[in-house]
Symmetry: C2
Amino acid sequence: MSAPVKEQLAARAAEVEGFLVRCMRDKGIPDRLLASMEYSLLAGGKRLRPVLVLSWAGMFGEEGIADKVMPFAASLECIHTYSLIHDDLPAMDDDDLRRGKPSNHKQFDEATAILAGDGLLTEAFGLMSAASIVKGLPADRVLRAILVLARAAGAGGMVGGQAVDMEFTGREGVTLDELRRMHAMKTGALITAACECGAILSGADKADAENAREFGRNIGVAFQIVDDVLDVVGDTATLGKPAGSDEAMGKSTYPAFMGLEKSKALAVDYVDAAHERLSGYFGPEQEFLWQLARYIVDRVC
Amino acid sequence: MSAPVKEQLAARAAEVEGFLVRCMRDKGIPDRLLASMEYSLLAGGKRLRPVLVLSWAGMFGEEGIADKVMPFAASLECIHTYSLIHDDLPAMDDDDLRRGKPSNHKQFDEATAILAGDGLLTEAFGLMSAASIVKGLPADRVLRAILVLARAAGAGGMVGGQAVDMEFTGREGVTLDELRRMHAMKTGALITAACECGAILSGADKADAENAREFGRNIGVAFQIVDDVLDVVGDTATLGKPAGSDEAMGKSTYPAFMGLEKSKALAVDYVDAAHERLSGYFGPEQEFLWQLARYIVDRVC
C-alpha cells in the first residue's frame, strides 16, 4: 500500500470534513433532525466522492478552484450518506451497524432516519447551487453538473440500482451481466458523476470530461468488486459491519460468480483501464488520481 | 364557489399533467420503480404548486414563459408527491389511503415506496436544471430558484416540518404559535417557494418577487386552516382519507384551538392579506390568482 496516497486522501478528506461540519448549521433545521443528519454525515468514511470532484476540478481548473467547488463536492457526500441511511432501513437491507456504529434508525428512530435522508438529499442540491451563488462558479457549468448528478443519483441511477438490488436479493439465476448493470447504477453512477462534475465545473472541454467520466466508471467497477471481495475475506472489525453479510443475505457478488482470485484480477483490469484515461495528463492531480485508483485494489491485492 | 376559477385551475392542471405523464420516461428507471413513481405522481390532485409557478411566471414573464418554466413547475409536483409517499409510510403517519386509493407502500411495498420518493425528489432537481438546459431560461435565474426551493423543501423547511409534526403528535401542550411554525415549514414553505420561484424564473425584480412570496405565504396558511377544518366537517369520500383522522391521531389543529367558526374567519383574513399582495397588478394572471386565493376558502365558507 502506498503511504503517500493514503495520507493525501486523508488530508483532502479532512478538508471536506471541515466543510461538512459547518454546512448544515444555521438553516433552521430542528435539533433532533439535525443531530440525526450530522450523526451519519460525520460518522467517518473516506470522502472518496468529494475528493474525486476536487481532484478532477483541480486537474483542469485555475488556481483556487478547490475552494469554489467545495460546496458541490460536499453535496456528493450528502447524497452518499443519505443513500446509506435509507439502504440500512428495516424495509431495505435492515442493517443495525454502519461503520461500526448503530445505523441511523437504530440510534434515532425509523421516521427520523427517513427524514434525515430526505433532508440530506435536498440540502445537497442547495449546496450545489451555492457553488455558483456563493462561490462564483459560472451558473451554466453548475447547472450542467446538477443535471449530470440528478441523473446519476436518481431513479435511473443510484436509486434505481438499489431497487434492482432488492429485486435480486434471494432471487435465483441473476446473471453476471445483470449484476454488472445493477452495480453500474447503484454505486458506479455516483462515482462516475463525481469525476465528470469535477471536470465540468472547472470548465473542461468535452474530451477531458469524457476521460474524467470513464476514469470514474472504471474505478467504480473496481471499487465494487473489491467491496465484494472484502465482504468475504475481511473481518467485522475492519468492515464496520458483519463479514459475510452478502452471502447471508443471498446477494449476488463477483466472488460468487468467478471466485476470489479472478475477481481480484478483474478489479486490476478495471484499474488499468482507469489509468489509461489519465495517460494524457501531468502534474500533482494526475499523480494523485493514478495512485488513488491503484489504492482501491491495494486494499485486497 | 366561482366556476370559472375551478375550470381554469383544471385546465392548467391538465397541462401540468400532460407534462408529468411524459417526464419520467426514457430515463432508464427500472419498471416496477417507475410504476410506483407514476402511480403516485399521476394519482390526481389539484396541481396547485405547479400552477402557482406558472401563474406567477406568467404575471411577469414574456410571451411563451409558461412553456419555459413547465419543467420547473412540474418539479414541484414531484417534490409534493414524494413528501406524500414518505409521510404515509408505516414509520410516519401510517396511512393506508391517499386520494381514495391505496397509499404507495400499500399498492407496492415499503422499500419501493421509500425509493419512489427518493427517485421523485432527485428527478425534481433534474427537471429544474432542464428549465435552463432544455428550455433556455437564463442559468443564473434557474440556480437562484433551485436554492430557494432546496431551502423550502429541505430539513429547514418541509422535511423539518414533518419531523416537528411527528414530535407534536400525541404531545400535550403544543401552543398555537408552535403549530403555526410547524405548518409554515411543513406545507407553507413549498407553496411560498412555488410563487417566489415563478417570479424569479420570469426575471421579476426584488419587490415583485417579495409580493409573490408573501402571497404564497398567506394562501399557504389559509390552505392549512381549511384542510384542518375539512378534516372535521368533510366526509371520507370527499377527502379520500378517513375524516376525523387528525383528532384520532392526536394532532393539533386550528379547530381544536379556536373552534370551527373562528378558524374559518382566520382563513379569510389570510386570503385578504394575499389579495393585498396582488393589488398593484393587472391582467388575466392577476385575476386568476385573486380568484384562486378566494377559491381556497370557498371550499369551506
